[in-house]
């Protein structure tokens, strides 16, 4: 099938041929996955992919061929998603429940003198399956993603910006208009919930390694 014109971009020494018509088939799914994990809304993710490819065409001149085409496109998409979060957090204020840690209270309830220490059976377990092996398995990442999808929206956004994009606290607070104390509480909430979720749904399940 004809995919559209090839645009030749001249860089200082060499000219590289780029064909935007092939982008959708070559990178579409990867870009979509990158977006859906963070945005958790199919049509929003599709829109972001489209906007990304359209702005890529506009800024072809600035693509020096230094990174791969995929990396360059992901870079543009990353900025689109951050723009969305910035706008969204201005429009939708933080829900008080996002910074509520009371769901974890039962994990620290005891009858004996050790008040607010871990509950005997709800404390972190010795994992039955190896963490190193989990990182080799695609299915494990599916479990992790599924656990993330159960977090409240704002909590998941903060967690993904911190752990998947590697932003620091200050940057995240600025982009999402968050106070730093709310940031710490949200990150703690995400870590508590996700650690427990992957423990239950992966590490204490199935074969014993």
């Amino acid at each position: 099938m004809q995919t559209g014109e090839t645009i030749t971009v001249s860089v200082v020494e060499n000219a590289i041929a780029i064909d935007p018509g092939t982008w959708v088939d070559e990178h579409g799914d990867q870009l979509f996955r990158y977006a859906i994990v963070r945005l958790r809304d199919e049509s929003l993710a599709e829109d972001c992919v489209q906007e990304t490819l359209l702005s890529a065409i506009q800024s072809l001149g600035s693509y020096g061929g230094k990174s791969t085409e995929r990396t360059w496109l992901i870079g543009i998409l990353k900025h689109k998603i951050i723009d969305h979060f910035r706008k969204h957090s201005r429009e939708v204020p933080l829900d008080p429940s996002d910074t509520d840690l009371s769901e974890f209270d039962p994990l620290f309830e005891r009858d004996d003198e050790f008040k607010h220490h871990w509950h005997d059976t709800l404390s972190p377990r010795i994992w039955r399956r190896s963490p190193d092996e989990a990182l080799q398995e695609n299915e494990f990442f599916g479990v992790l993603q599924n656990c993330m999808s159960k977090l409240p929206e704002r909590v998941a956004t903060v967690f993904s910006m911190r752990e998947m994009n590697g932003f620091d606290a200050e940057e995240i607070c600025e982009i999402l208009s968050l106070s730093s104390s709310n940031f710490w509480v949200i990150m703690h909430r995400a870590r508590m919930a996700l650690r427990r979720c992957i423990e239950i749904n992966w590490f204490m399940k199935g074969k014993i390694s």
């Binding site: 799914d29 871990w118 752990e163 606290a169």
Partner: protein, 114 residues
């Protein structure tokens, strides 16, 4: 092995002292979480270290939170299976291709007129 018996007793006494007098697990896990995102204060670090000497579940919480952190940083590279995230739908694919075609046509036109 009387000596190891004494060491064990001392260790148990130390652990009980730590667990009874210093902040409980509920507070320690907050410090452990924070340690992944910022530099701890000297006091926080001391309290955490002492507690971890006496509390195995909190040690596991720390190790497993570190694991969670490194797993999350590898998530993007491992979302290969369509089952979990789906893929770009055919409608979206066509829509985006058309939008691109319209835009590249325009772009070529602009280039041609320069």
């Amino acid at each position: 092995m009387a000596e190891t018996g004494i060491i064990q007793k001392l260790r148990r006494a130390r652990n009980l002292f730590i667990l009874r007098t210093l902040p409980p697990c509920k507070d320690i896990v907050k410090i452990v979480s924070a340690s992944l995102d910022r530099k701890l204060t000297i006091r926080e670090r001391a309290v955490m270290r002492l507690h971890l000497l006496a509390c195995k579940p909190c040690v596991r919480y720390m190790e497993q939170s570190h694991f969670l952190s490194s797993a999350a940083s590898q998530l993007d590279d491992n979302l290969k299976d369509d089952l979990f995230t789906g893929r770009l739908s055919d409608e979206a694919r066509d829509r985006i291709k058309n939008a691109l075609k319209a835009s590249t046509g325009l772009f070529a036109l602009v280039l041609a007129t320069l």
